[in-house]
Symmetry: C3
Subunit: 273 residues, 3 copies
């Protein structure tokens, strides 16, 4: 067993970490429900007047720019600086970066002005941010993955953080180790907010990472979070009849998730890079 | 039978009251669905340009500061003043008050500048607002409840309104009578927005309260609303496999809720104080 | 068979059109899920800094003023002008128009400053916009429908666009042809966002309309979109126990929707006017 994802799950449920989410208005509800279901404690707060206070008392700060505005970006920077000072880990999900010039600027601003613990997105988004090129269609998947993983490793080394790219396979790296995660279900791509839920859940796992050790546990926390979430998706798909019943059952599965079963079902590869 | 909650439910379904909700972006969808399911008519409106007009034509105004901003608070004050002038009842839910100084200020502003019909929150929030102290962990539950209920009674007498505190037991008081409500289900705490749905539903019940009589029917409306909602939760939990299927079934249960069954299942205590 | 709705569905699934939604915060989640379920690709973007860029790359722009603000209306005008220049079809849903003077002003502003491809609302909203009078209670339904349909035809001729009014029967007209659509289920009125989901789905169908031909295919696209959505609702209602399980099953049904079955179940009338 490469990572003990089940143990991470137990720790999340034991600590019930408070995750401060600044997420988009499309998915705020499902992000909160996913965090509640897995055993964490979500809070959503956006006002510039309070985001610093909220970030300081949180176990982690999860930033998601899905429905970004200038006000939201300013709020994220305020919250992120406060989190940094209070040694609260920060995960940033640059949703839709590359779709418009404004998204590119906004994501760059957040990624350069904050010291992110984790940069997390789908393969296209992370490829865009890490310089592997944003467009993947028509290219051999293995080559893309290889190119993507290489760019992620460089980015993680340069920024001293963890980089996560999701897709059919999920990649996590801290610049030294590369995790390749093979759980999940195609229906995750047929419901809105699956990636955003995972960003929140990564926040919960970061919150229980041992802050004494440096980069390693944060990357492991990400790999464990992704594995738990994706195993829950596999469980939820059993007996679901489509994306609607799958979405409802996903919260059930997160709630019922058994640590031992997570470890039995986990399909994780790990390479030193 | 101390209150005829089933009769209140019938009245809500008969009048289909329009409830103007200014609620948070995490739960707006489920609040609207809960109101539709129980037989009321929800509307969400936030623009300063229209909140006064909307509040005047509504049967009740339900204010929830979950994802508060300065703009939202200003809008709530505009809507609340208009509601007051039009004798439209107002329920205020100071979500998360105490978590940050800004939330304390904002809740105080709303509670002092508006004549609230009902102040409603969970035990920690109401304890904070009513002066019973916001922290409850490690203290004997009965003593806390007793301290909380006492503070609620004082607050209600001072402000001539109704105070509601939810939790394992729910308390409602108008300063003369104290209702102790014992229905509900633990899964309500595992989905986001259950408290916010209840705030909206309290609005619907306030809207059908006889406005000729003073404080009494509003408190009774709250006790009836809570009982109906919590009995629906008990029904929804039957056959649910977790918080996801429970949430879907909660709307079914609100829709199917039988007035006679509500009264049979109601576990209500009532004391003169 | 008057329209081949099943063929339209196949085209949507084949092209997976990107629909740029500027919708209200109550329903954004379910609109995104409905579009994903039927096979389209939703994006929500609101910032003035990016709405023009997003509208230009989208297959359609869907505007919904449910929780309108001055900022949102300004953003809609920016996006709508950009869409017009790029020949991207635009559907506008004036949610709640008539409820407040501000909504009337805002809807008029959008409808006069943009060249809308489709104006879509419920019977009361479209009656208000098209001049048939907004109040329908106590009036003979057939007469209202007749009056409504007449007003819609005049509006469509005057504005050279398509007008859609939903209700127990749904009406679509481009000023020459009137479609009367008879599918659907009463539970659609018991969940929030069913009309808003349909607005998004109409966007997806507009995106695959042949832009070479003028008004005709857009009206047909609307009739096909409504028929597909309403047949899915009929399927979803089978086995549902109330609005909550119905809502979950609606996404399943949109996902599973069979083109041949849509055509078999379609109840469509068509008249030259």
């Amino acid at each position: 067993m490469i990572i003990d994802a089940g143990h991470w799950l137990i720790e999340v449920r034991r600590h019930r970490p408070l995750v401060h989410n600044m997420t988009n208005l499309v998915v705020a509800n499902v992000v909160a429900n996913a965090l509640l279901a897995i055993g964490a404690s979500p809070v959503m707060a956006y006002a510039h007047e309070e985001v610093q206070d909220m970030a300081r008392i949180a176990g982690a700060l999860a930033l998601n720019m899905g429905t970004l505005t200038p006000d939201l970006i300013t709020g994220m920077l305020l919250a992120g600086k406060a989190a940094e000072e209070a040694r609260v880990p920060v995960v940033f999900d640059p949703v839709g970066v590359g779709a418009t010039p404004y998204r590119v600027q906004a994501a760059d601003k957040v990624a350069t002005q904050l010291r992110l613990t984790v940069l997390k997105g789908n393969a296209g988004e992370i490829g865009g941010m890490a310089g592997a090129g944003g467009t993947v269609s028509g290219v051999d998947a293995a080559a893309v993955a290889s190119g993507l993983a290489g760019a992620m490793v460089q980015y993680a080394r340069h920024h001293h953080n963890v980089v996560v790219a999701t897709g059919e396979q999920d990649f996590v790296t801290d610049g030294q180790t590369l995790w390749i995660l093979n759980n999940g279900h195609p229906w995750l791509a047929r419901i809105t907010g699956s990636g955003c839920m995972l960003t929140g859940i990564i926040g919960a796992f970061l919150a229980v990472a041992d802050k004494q050790r440096e980069a390693i546990p944060f990357a492991e926390a990400c790999a464990a979070a992704i594995t738990c979430f994706n195993v829950a998706a596999e469980k939820a798909a059993e007996g679901a009849q489509g994306p609607g019943t799958f979405a409802a059952r996903l919260f059930d599965a997160l709630n019922l998730l058994d640590p031992d079963e997570v470890n039995r079902m986990a399909r994780v590869e790990c390479r030193q890079v």
